[in-house]
Amino acid sequence: MKIGFSLHATLVAVAMVALLSSGASAQQPLKIGLIVPMTGPFASTGKQVDAAVNLYLAEHGDVVAGRKIEVLLRDDTGIAPETTKRLAQELITNDHAEIIAGFGLTPLAFAAAPVATEAKTPMVVMAAGTLVIPQKSPYIVRTSFALPQQTAPIALWAAKHGMKKVYTLVTEYGPGIDAETTFKTVFTASGGTVDGARVPLHNPDYAPFIQRAKDDKPDAVFIFVPSGEGSAVMKQFAERGLAKAGIKLIGTGDVVDDDILDSMGDSALGTITSHFYSAAHPSAENKAFVAAFEKANGGMRPNFMAVGGYDGMALIYQVLKKTGGSADGDKFIAAAEGLSWTSPRGKITIDPETRDVVQDVYLRKVERVNGHLYNVEFDRVRDVHPDGK
């Protein structure tokens, strides 16, 4: 009897230990590896995304579906894809990150994609904008934008408003080429002609390119440059008197990035762009977002990178609620597909086919509002797909 009792007790004890430990694993913190450029020429992107992620955590608490969220921030310097790849590997294997997120520029997202595929880890792209990014891994879902989506509306607008000849000036890497191709396709289909040049991504010098654009005598210059580069372009545009020569400046919203728009001065006034986000978007959600963001970051204005990061966290939280706290790659992606919510930018939907965003794209004009420069929206195209259709 005695032996039987002790055996019974042991079994109970073992069962209890097993129960406890399984309970403990459900309570383990969920680590999100956030890889963005925090130094180097594209540091503004990283700062914006990081600030937005922190704001989301502050507003929504750091526990979702019973799991505590921990964000591990890593700086990939923005110009070294091999660093991004290494950081993604380290985060997943050493730090046991269950989700990787961020990715400031296209080459960086490309570098991390195979890591996500191999580890079956969900990869939330919060910034980079080349169309094909989500195709690089079945575990990618994007909450920012795709360049063709941002470009097609301004191309149509330009054609509709009497422009016949446009000079395109884009940065020579994925998104720039996407923007150039889309603009050319849409604008020539409407009967216009397009000429253009590409500026190198590293150490750009815009002066000769802008001069060339001016000498080409187009109706408008269409510009795409990475977030943070807009002011250098704007300066040359003003100095070389393109506006005086009757040449308009149009582009995607990247060139009049909210983060630096106010420092560009009057030369930016009147620039017309199409984009998914403006800090001046007149919705209650956005007003609350901008106010909270500026308060938490010493007056820094959120730009489209910030809203991409904020919505990336919104996506992760909603998915974890659906999966009961599991970040298993296949479950995560299945839960993300078709999600739709109202973000500071307006309505956003994750397209189940492409795992990319479907959203409204706005036409905006730079105006002075209460003494500061803003992109004021004057028209919108509803539910634009990533490929611009």
């Binding site: 010098d205 060339r212 943070g228």
Partner: protein, 287 residues
Amino acid sequence: MLTVLFDGIATGALLFMLALGLSVTLGIMNFVNLAHGAFAMLGGYVAVVLLKGWGVPLLWCLPAAFLISAAVGMVLERTLYSRLYGASPLDQVLFTIGIVFASMAMASYFMGAQHQIIQLPPFLGGQFHVFAGFDVGVYRLFLIVVCGLIALLLHIMLTRTRFGSQLRASVDNARVARGMGIDVDRLFAITFAVGSGLAGLAGALGIEILDLDPTFPVKFMVYFLIVVAVGGTGTLGGPLAASLVLGICDVAGKYYISEVGAFIIYTVMVVMLIVRPQGLFGRPAVR
């Protein structure tokens, strides 16, 4: 066409001022100072802080950038550089590249990684139209005038003053100059400070054109080295001609053949070095 030429000359003038100090230090002491760009960056940031933080007018920021860079150059020369004069080139390169990285880290810590943007005073902004196909940017014209005046001043200093003749003697043959009783070390300290100051001044002038950010010393190191390699050391004419050729080729290359524009300067360097390995005006090395 003329606009492109003009922009090229402006870029060249700026490069000349940036690289001049390096050419002199290399010429006299045979010291490879890769950290030269750090002094240019320092001048740029001094101007940015004064201009944006304290509201000092741009024209006063320029001498301040010169003086502060020169002072820092002098201090570093006396405390650090002077220890390495006899050292092997490898030690010198490692030491100065270390300074480059330290300066970059400090710049991004104190000033942030973003490009610095300044607003020019209105009388320096814009372009004026000379005739069809030729527009002159006011700021670039200002650059050319300032650089031209400084080159003239330096030329007079080198050829007409006692200091200048001592300097030329030291460049030609430091050992004999020392034997003749010239205090080469003092000469070098002064020249180093002036060279650093000029780099600082050029850094401040170049904020508008060269994109000032913490990667500046590395970004433009190649340009300085090309100017020195092509122009030869120890003269004014060599670096001046090399800078102008480089500036014009760079701008024209980007304008006319934008696909390969960024590579033009390297091609120019290779060709020039094949044709004249001793530099444009340099004499074959006698050492």
